[in-house]
Symmetry: C2
Subunit: 357 residues, 2 copies
């Protein structure tokens, strides 16, 4: 990337390789610190990062101490996300529900219990007040479903003609003592699970934008119940499958854990209508974003229990075991077909569909 004369392109917002380049080249470069450099879904810090000399003997001092195991007092999880989806309302959801779910799910992926939420609204002049009201109400309802409380907000108005609304949500959660769920924790022999069908959100947004009539609905949902059912089970890693899709997430987890991820194409749940839609447009469900699905890496010995817990949760009935973790080529992702064909896959390259979240 040419940092002197280059400009930002839509590909930088795809969640794929260009996004990574931008984040590393500019933001990590300027802000880099131990906590941020972990590039997890949420930062996890000791409460002593806030309160010097708290009663917990495990972590002391004034500095932010990056996630170092559990501690007897638990830790604080913190994550932020901006939402720029267009259209603002779509089959299965709207930007308000999305803004709560995206942030709640990021907290959950570190094993945190979501607690407090802030929201910052940037609104283009000309936006209909009735639309704002619907989106705010949807946000409130989703927050209630997720058990998180909105405690601070901000509103700004900008010029514009398209009636656009952008929402930032920042979430705070509590990681109970003993919980250690992180991107790099996958171990040899672990099993890879997904919590449901891939591509629904992405296909729903694309259908709306292209005015294609079908019944595909966004899967946008808060995974609070599901993650609470996973507590106590041998889960090493959780990651929600959003921008970049399943392949991007699996490749990132393979890199973070320095293990090999092997997923089996025919085991990956994809709704028939989404599969047909993808076939028609030449899209690969493996690279399509979701907003209510997670990948779970679990110890083989408890994998069936993990699967059962997912299936017993709201939004988890189509959960499936889709692959395993090996060590044959550290950092690699392999996709195997039903008849044994195998290809190495990378993170999403290029644009994908921008502004799906």
């Amino acid at each position: 990337m040419d940092w002197n004369s280059g400009t930002v392109t839509m590909a930088h917002g795809s969640g794929g390789s260009a996004t990574e380049e931008l984040i590393h080249g500019i933001f990590a470069e300027a802000f880099g610190n131990d906590t941020l450099n972990r590039m997890e879904d949420a930062a996890v810090v000791s409460y002593d990062a806030l309160v010097a000399g708290r009663e917990c003997g495990e972590h002391r001092g004034n500095n932010v101490i990056p996630d170092q195991g559990s501690g007897s007092c638990g830790r604080l999880a913190l994550t932020t996300d901006s939402f720029v989806v267009t259209p603002l309302e779509f089959r299965g959801g709207d930007i308000g529900r999305l803004a709560v779910c995206g942030t709640v799910n990021d907290l959950l992926m570190r094993g945190a219990v979501p607690k407090l939420l802030t929201c910052g609204w940037i609104i283009e002049e000309g936006t209909k007040l009735s639309l704002l009201k619907r989106v705010a109400e949807s946000m409130a309802e989703t927050a209630k479903e997720a058990g998180i409380q909105i405690v601070a907000g901000d509103t700004k108005v900008i010029e514009g003609k398209s009636g656009g609304v952008y929402i930032n949500t920042t979430g705070i959660g509590h990681v109970p003592a003993g919980v250690d769920i992180a991107a790099g924790n996958a171990e040899e022999g672990d099993v890879i699970l997904v919590s449901g069908t891939m591509g629904n959100h992405h296909a729903a947004i694309l259908s709306e934008r292209m005015s294609i009539e079908n019944d595909i609905k966004s899967d946008v949902a808060p995974l609070v119940e599901m993650v609470s059912k996973l507590r106590g089970l041998p889960v090493h890693t959780l990651r929600d499958v959003t921008r970049g899709g399943l392949a991007t997430v699996c490749k990132e987890l393979a890199l973070a854990s320095k293990k090999t991820f092997l997923i089996r194409d025919h085991l990956i749940p994809v709704d028939m209508q989404v599969r047909d839609f993808c076939g028609l447009l030449g899209l690969d469900p493996l690279y399509m974003g979701n907003e209510g699905k997670l990948v779970c890496i679990a110890k083989r010995e408890g994998a069936e229990e993990v699967l059962a817990a997912m299936k017993a949760s709201g939004y988890g009935e189509k959960a499936a075991i889709i692959g395993e973790v090996t060590v044959e080529k550290p950092g690699a992702l392999f996709v195997e077909t039903e008849i044994g064909g195998r290809r190495e896959a990378d993170v999403l390259q290029g644009e994908g569909l921008p502004r799906i979240c």
Copy 2:
């Protein structure tokens, strides 16, 4: 406001009466809860809001407990703010410095020590990478000055032609035990102070937009040192003077405390160049936004000490006592001239200058 067929206008972003209408009519209506309803610069909650059954005996339970005095374990402060200023770089600062200072100052206004910061970037395609780099570096530098650590971030890209950048920052701070600083705490006989000259930021932004050549610089600054010097002094209320200006802030504090605020026009510090600039354009410095100034309501007995502490701080050399709190007309703000003339003033009406922060 017509909630069925109305639309958002630039006035809704002014920080004045239209903003209040929008916030109350839509957001407070949908999200309302005890903490949010306080409409403070930052929400303050018990740590038990995060961690049920923590060792502090003062606050227990799973629910978010709104600010109810001090507690022996201190409390958590949380605030969010989006920044949409244009131009992105201006005399005295840029959107990166602004995004840190705005949120840090909001935390400080509740007596919190700023600790952790998240940032969410929304970037229009076409934005120069070199500009992003400068803004990110300015942000990092300001965070360092303010002693706050950036621990989580997010990047989105949107279509657009103006190279716009919007930044949301959310801040977390720790309110030490025993600290109780809030909008409604003003008491009869209290003294009103400001930490420096009014209108510099607003005038600097307006000068840039109108291509007027002058030496006016934005006052954007983190007030960490100043507030730390105020610890232990008899301070009842702190409020940073941003959108809407000094008059809007004083009117809001008069309403929150159900007291009368009397400020003396000739005691309010305004730089000569800003005064001339305002005179020329028919603007009132009382309604012009700042980004590094605060109003302080202090007990009369300690007011000289408070003033001295402000003056001894960076960004506080022009601090002044400008008025007092009475009870003659609850919720009213009076502005008195040098020769004893008096008028009642309200919050900012109409547009003001949009997108100054």
